[in-house]
Symmetry: C2
Subunit: 245 residues, 2 copies
């Protein structure tokens, strides 16, 4: 992964329709704001007003669940254009298939944006399960995904479970902190369990490559959320310190 912007495109071919998308982000024009723009097109027939109904949940679990540096952009936008040219006769089945294709395209583009983040050398998926609620799971995932200590550990390819748990334990939620009981948590790096129901196991995962998965199960409830994040590298500092207003 370099700091050059690469084309970000995704396509899903359904049985009788197609969903395609393209995105820019993470350093293309205004490198200080990770400006994100995505356009998704389809030949699936949608009535006026339906596009936003389908797009919103797909965006929540993709473009709204990624971070490069925890900073908000001034002008993010995602739009969905549907011209109906496929001539599909819609049914519940075709609607579900379209919804799934739309979510897959959004998730694919969102991942490409993170991978192309400023100075990024790795994309890490933070997957929270067993939280007290989905909202708390999202707060926990966001806190871990934006932690400078977690992100520098990712750059160093260190399976630093202490930093992950310290970040999780300080996830702001509802004026306080998201619920977490250290005696109950199970934590995995790339499938290797490092903490089992609160007990640290004497294993040393060796994360490498450009993709990593951190799974945290809180064993408190049924709330879950996923976030994608990149690492903090020397290049991240270089790009953002050298930039001049």
């Amino acid at each position: 992964m370099t700091t050059d912007t690469r084309p970000k495109q995704a396509v899903v071919h359904g049985a009788d329709f197609t969903v395609g998308g393209m995105a820019k982000g993470s350093g293309m024009i205004h490198p200080n704001l990770a400006t994100m723009l995505a356009v998704i097109t389809t030949d699936y027939p949608l009535a006026a007003g339906e596009a936003i109904e389908l797009l919103r949940p797909a965006v929540d679990e993709s473009f709204n669940a990624i971070t490069v540096d925890g900073e908000c952009s001034t002008n993010d936008a995602v739009c969905l254009l549907a011209n109906g040219a496929s001539g599909v006769r819609r049914s519940l089945d075709s609607d579900l298939a379209f919804s799934a294709a739309l979510r897959a395209v959004c998730a694919d583009l969102a991942r490409q944006i993170v991978a192309d983040g400023e100075g990024a050398t790795v994309v890490a998926q933070i997957a929270i399960t067993g939280a007290a609620s989905d909202d708390e799971a999202r707060a926990l995932a966001r806190r871990i995904a934006t932690s400078p200590l977690v992100k520098t550990a990712l750059f160093g390819r260190d399976a630093n479970w202490g930093r992950v748990l310290a970040a999780a334990g300080s996830a702001p939620y509802n004026g306080g902190f998201a619920q977490l009981d250290p005696d109950l948590v199970t934590l995995r790096f790339d499938g290797t369990t490092v903490i089992d129901s609160g007990t640290p196991l004497n294993v040393e995962p060796d994360p490498h490559g450009d993709a990593l998965c951190i799974e945290l199960d809180l064993a408190l409830g049924t709330g879950s959320a996923t976030y994608l994040t990149s690492d903090f590298s020397y290049d991240y500092v270089r790009i953002n310190a050298d930039y001049r207003t």
Copy 2:
């Protein structure tokens, strides 16, 4: 400033008493958590229970208003020991003088901790005035002080007012965001006004050296707060990426 830990000490000599303190922090023993410990001693006479009453506000505006990387420590502690050996006869005046000396020692130690932060090359004071409330001012100061884009700009010595305002505009507060009207804000870098009541002035401050002051006046109310922060440098990444669990 290097990544070596330097001794952090402060003393204030009152007319007839002394307040001294020492602190560790920002990489001394457990470099991944900026563990902070401070001990303050005085010969001023205090009754049992009075120390915490005086210490709490002094800590709120010093040790609780600093950040190196936005991460919480697992074991911060500040304690105040008073043995009364000065033999001072207490009065309202002497109490006020002692309180001021205590605050000065806390502020001095807190600044030394930030200056000795991992990889820090600059200490920046973020001063918010004119916020809707003190709590909102604190939320704004904290958001600016922890923003990776502000901190990399500090490392690059760039008076990047866009990043400061973008961070301020996304300061979480009370489930929403702290109030800010971009048409009213005045922003100064080291005393040089770059935005005057919402109007960007065509000036280019040239921040340099190892101390910097960013003043943001919101012109909304009387809330104020101050935060000290360090920059994100190559050394910050190196120290935290090389560290091994």
